[in-house]
């Protein structure tokens, strides 16, 4: 399946200049905050939304003007969109009946799909009599029986409770492993994106400065390890990457990042991953460090060159590990990228106050108490540096084009 450039307009530009190739059998996740155009892209693939520019191919066929029914795709909707007047069996058989599939084959395929999804027991019930999770399975079943060229899924798990969502996520993975059907999956949940996707495409709303949606596409680890800009870095990963304004200083052979009365020696590997970083000495950059790149000095061994001293304000103990929150005496990082991410969680730049929130993950073997001083050691090979003006990572190639 080849998706090429797609532009969508309804007065405003919703999706701009999107180049994306989806491989046969691939599980591709479109992820981004609400309003980033990810659902619109999916609906364009389905044919439910007109394509106002560019071309889209499924396999070899140009499908720009093709009706949804001729595209050989199946879609799973956020609210399931089951036909309320039909039984589960009829819901699943509907697409096959329209295609005049022989009755025996319809029955066989429905039974098979029901086996996979474990919904045999309520094939003759109406959707109304089912729970959310069961409806979700029926919606999946309706897609599976069609044996389409591709599955399109629009936030299919977002209406389920947390426990069921995790269970269905595993189920989806199992089903995809079994059927190996090309799948395009839309979600705003980056955890879902990371766990399900063979590749993940991070989208954001178009802006005047950046009239394209696609920020970066790649395997989950790639997005996690090598985010191309602040937006991707801040969106992928939970808890989110810490961001702080830092100034690079040269001291002999070494580069040091200093921020809020603290100093970290930048590991040569980090410098290697940011080509041209040396040219930014004595400039203020945005430094990113993931909570998972830190550990308590007591466990990791003291290393004054890589230590951050903090006062424990909140300790979230999860059993195996613990997230320690503190505030650094530095003004919070506010760039267009960050503001957009804040807006998605209902926050504004003002709500951050004038200090920087900082989270470190430490082993829960260390018991900490609120108010206590704590020294954590940072894996400085995993520091990230971003240009505060553009939001791009230092040395990263231009974003959208590099993505494909």
């Amino acid at each position: 399946m080849d998706g090429l450039t797609k532009i969508y307009e309804d007065g405003t530009l919703a999706v701009g200049e999107l180049d994306l190739t989806i491989e046969d059998g691939e599980f591709l996740v479109l992820v981004g905050p609400s309003g980033c155009g990810k659902s619109t892209v999916l609906r364009m693939i389905a044919g439910l939304e007109d394509i106002s520019g560019g071309e889209m191919h499924i396999g070899e066929r140009l499908v720009n003007d093709m009706a949804p029914k001729d595209r050989d795709i199946a879609m799973v909707f956020q609210n399931y969109a089951l036909y309320p007047h039909m039984t589960v069996r009829d819901n699943m058989a509907f697409g096959l009946k329209l295609r005049k599939t022989p009755k025996a084959e319809i029955n066989q395929r429905v039974e098979e799909a029901a086996d996979i999804l474990e919904i045999n027991d309520f094939l003759d019930r109406k959707p109304k009599a089912l729970s959310g999770g069961q409806r979700q399975r029926v919606a999946m079943g309706r897609a599976i029986v069609r044996e389409p060229a591709a599955f399109l899924m629009d936030e299919p798990l977002s209406n389920l409770d947390a426990k069921l969502r995790v269970q269905m996520r595993a189920e989806l993975e199992r089903i995809h492993g079994r059927l190996e059907t090309t799948t395009v999956y839309v979600t705003h949940d980056q955890v879902e994106a990371m766990t399900l996707g063979d590749r993940v495409a991070v989208l954001r709303a178009v802006s005047a400065a950046k009239p394209y949606n696609l920020q970066q596409v790649g395997p989950p680890y790639e997005l996690f390890d090598n985010p191309v800009n602040l937006f991707v870095a801040g969106f992928i990963g939970s808890p989110a990457m810490n961001m702080v304004y830092a100034t690079l200083e040269r001291d002999g052979e070494d580069l040091w990042a200093s921020f809020a009365d603290q100093r970290l020696k930048v590991d040569p590997y980090a410098i290697e991953r940011h080509p041209g970083l040396e040219n930014h000495t004595n400039e203020e950059l945005v430094m990113g460090v993931r909570p998972s790149s830190m550990e308590a000095a007591e466990i990791a061994g003291a290393d004054p060159d890589r230590a951050i001293h903090m006062t424990v304000e909140v300790d979230e103990n999860l059993g195996a590990e613990s997230y320690v929150h503190t505030t650094l005496d530095a003004r919070p990082v506010v760039t267009p990228d960050i503001e957009e991410l804040l807006a998605d969680t209902g926050q504004t730049a003002e709500s951050l106050g004038d200090s920087t929130e900082f989270v470190a993950r430490i082993s829960s073997d260390i018991r900490v108490q609120t108010g206590q001083a704590l020294e954590v050691v940072v894996d400085t090979a995993k520091l990230y540096f971003f240009d505060p003006a553009s939001g791009d990572r230092v040395g990263a190639k231009a974003t959208a084009t590099a993505a494909t």
Partner: protein, 318 residues
């Protein structure tokens, strides 16, 4: 209704003072219901009983119970009144015509109501289109009947339809003067009047359908017609039944259109049951016979009303 009230009140009383709540259960519901019950009995129950009583008599509008004649009126209706029922062909009699109305009028109103309601949903000038279709409902039936008498006029200078037929070299056709055509002509006018109500109800229910099920069906491989026929329409079953039952009742009790357009003619050929009630009592001055027809009409409608009420109650329970 009374049962529900007392059932709800029953669990409330504390065992400590059983006397007070008991009396509350007994008379309070009736107190609240009294005004409604009073109005219902004066304007509904009593007239019905009185009509049934009159139907066993021979009498005029001045003295409806002049002579008790038992079931003679009913016997006459089903054996000896060609205007009400007759077994020859062509069978233009009130009972047959009413059956024709029930089928054609009801289907016509639903079909046009759906057509306008659903199609208007897809166009830009939706509100204008609906307003135009809605207009007949605010016109009085009398006025509508007069208008249609003109529309059906044989004079091409007055009659719109004959004028159009004249343009293609046909007619003039006496729409209201031919026994074989007159019923269809009046039913047509009836559909024009009532489509508005059907459109309003059906368009609202169409709009309320989840858009996602339509999208799911089109992705599933349905063309627009299949989406409508197999996904939208079945989901509108409830409102369609409500409209159908309402229209069947309207068809049975219709008086005004027939009275003003043809007074049941030519001959008896456009009489229907509702019209017959009016005509026998107020024109022929047969109060007893007309009442007997009214009782038959009531018996025909009762199961429909009972069924519709059950449907509505079931819908509310959902």
């Amino acid at each position: 209704m009374t049962a529900t009230v007392s059932e709800e009140a029953a669990p409330a009383p504390a065992p400590a003072e059983p006397k007070k709540p008991k009396s509350r259960v007994r008379w309070r519901p009736w107190l609240w219901l009294a005004p409604a019950l009073f109005l219902l009995s004066v304007f509904l129950v009593w007239p019905v009983i009185r009509t049934i009583w009159i139907s066993f008599h021979d009498g005029s509008t001045i003295n409806p119970t002049r002579e008790f004649i038992g079931v003679d009126n009913y016997v006459r209706m089903f054996t000896d009144d060609a205007a009400f029922i007759h077994y020859d062909l062509p069978p233009w009699s009130a009972l047959f015509n009413s059956a024709l109305w029930v089928v054609l009028f009801t289907l016509g109103v639903i079909a046009f109501g759906l057509l306008v309601g659903v199609l208007a949903d897809k166009v830009k000038y939706e509100k204008t289109a609906k307003a135009i279709v809605f207009l007949p409902l605010v016109v009085s039936f009398t006025a509508a009947s007069v208008v249609f008498r003109l529309v059906y006029s044989t004079d091409p200078n007055i009659g719109l339809i004959n004028a159009m037929l004249g343009l293609i070299g046909l007619g003039p056709v006496a729409f209201l003067g031919e026994a074989n055509i007159v019923n269809f002509a009046i039913i047509g006018a009836g559909i024009w009047v009532w489509t508005a109500l059907a459109m309003t109800i059906l368009a609202a229910s169409y709009k309320a359908l989840p858009e996602e099920t339509h999208e799911a069906a089109s992705v599933d491989g349905a063309n627009e017609w299949q989406v409508f026929w197999r996904v939208s329409l079945p989901q509108m079953k409830g409102p369609i039944i409500v409209v159908a039952v309402t229209m069947i009742i309207n068809a049975l009790k219709a008086v005004d259109l027939v009275l003003i357009m043809t007074t049941g003619g030519p001959g008896f050929s456009s009489r229907i049951v509702g019209f017959t009630v009016y005509w026998e009592i107020f024109n022929n001055n047969f109060a007893g016979y007309g009442s007997a027809v009214a009782v038959v009409l009531l018996i025909m409608m009762a199961p429909l009303m009972w069924w519709q009420m059950r449907q509505i109650r079931a819908a509310e329970a959902r």
